[in-house]
């Protein structure tokens, strides 16, 4: 499903006015994993992309159970959204016509396969700036469900027309 302008504005790197997010995945037997991610963008209005630089358990989980949930780490301005959907890691080396949920891997990798070059993390404070950025691929989540995570409305569907 398509994301609205407010969502697209939030799902950007911090330097462009966006937010850190949490990505939750889980193993097939249901061991969840929740990690903060800062290299994030929206692609074609309905895919959320995250650079795969340090993923370990996320990668193990997505390899066996391709589903994820993304939540904004800073739930300010009513941005209490939870984005859920099929997720995978698109990597160089996939066949040139490889598609995931309606998007071509090659298109995503061409634009976001080298994130540090496209959006250098110059705004990241020194104590948490990754020393060397080596990217293996792009974590790609197709948004199929958006719900509210505010305590009073947790789980309610969000109307993206707002």
């Amino acid at each position: 499903m398509k994301l609205n302008h407010a969502m697209k504005d939030a799902l950007k790197i911090v330097g462009k006015g966006g937010s850190v997010v949490h990505l939750t995945t889980c193993s097939l037997e249901g061991i969840p994993n929740t990690v903060g991610e800062r290299f994030i963008t929206v692609f074609n209005d309905e895919y959320i992309l995250i650079a795969d630089m340090f993923a370990q358990k996320t990668r193990v989980n997505l390899n066996e159970n391709p589903i994820g949930v993304i939540t904004l780490a800073h739930p300010v301005k009513g941005r209490t959204w939870s984005f859920k959907g099929p997720a995978t890691i698109l990597q160089e080396g996939l066949p040139s016509d490889y598609e995931f949920e309606g998007v071509k891997a090659s298109e995503i990798l061409k634009e976001w396969g080298n994130w540090a070059e496209k959006e250098p993390p110059s705004e990241v404070p020194p104590d948490i700036r990754p020393p060397v950025l080596v990217q293996r691929g792009v974590i790609t989540l197709k948004v199929t469900e958006i719900t509210d995570y505010s305590p009073e409305n947790a789980g309610n569907p969000i109307n993206t027309a707002i």
């Binding site: 370990q56 990597q91 080596v134 990217q135």
Partner: protein, 149 residues
Amino acid sequence: MKLPHEIVSLLKIKGINDTVVYLVTSSLNGNINLLPSPYTDVYLDEYILIPDLFAQKTKVNLNENRIGIISIVLPYSDKSITIEGPGNIIQWGHPQKFRFYDLTAGDILKQWGNWTEKENILDDENQTKPEVFAQRGVIVIKAEHINYN
């Protein structure tokens, strides 16, 4: 312990498509993982080095349980050996003076941090050539015990 000469020469970088080893690691609760690697080198006759090309479960395991076993089938024989010892991953971003036994991160990364400078992994002759080479660091196993099987 120092490795015997024949094992050192087996594991040192030579041509592409030479010895494949398995690196065996385990989670703290005993989930075993095998990482095959066609790329290995030996330092000081004691440390076996493998490039970390985004090893996943290996990394998860070494992050909680720092021990590894290298398993090799010896060429031209039906014998195999395993080499056991403490394991770690020396990564870009570690301070230069970060130490793992006799090794420092600065030294290891300078020499092996870009493995393609040592071994022509991106050569078309490489039967396991990766599309893109992205190296996060160097997996190190310190040889402390050898089993001949």
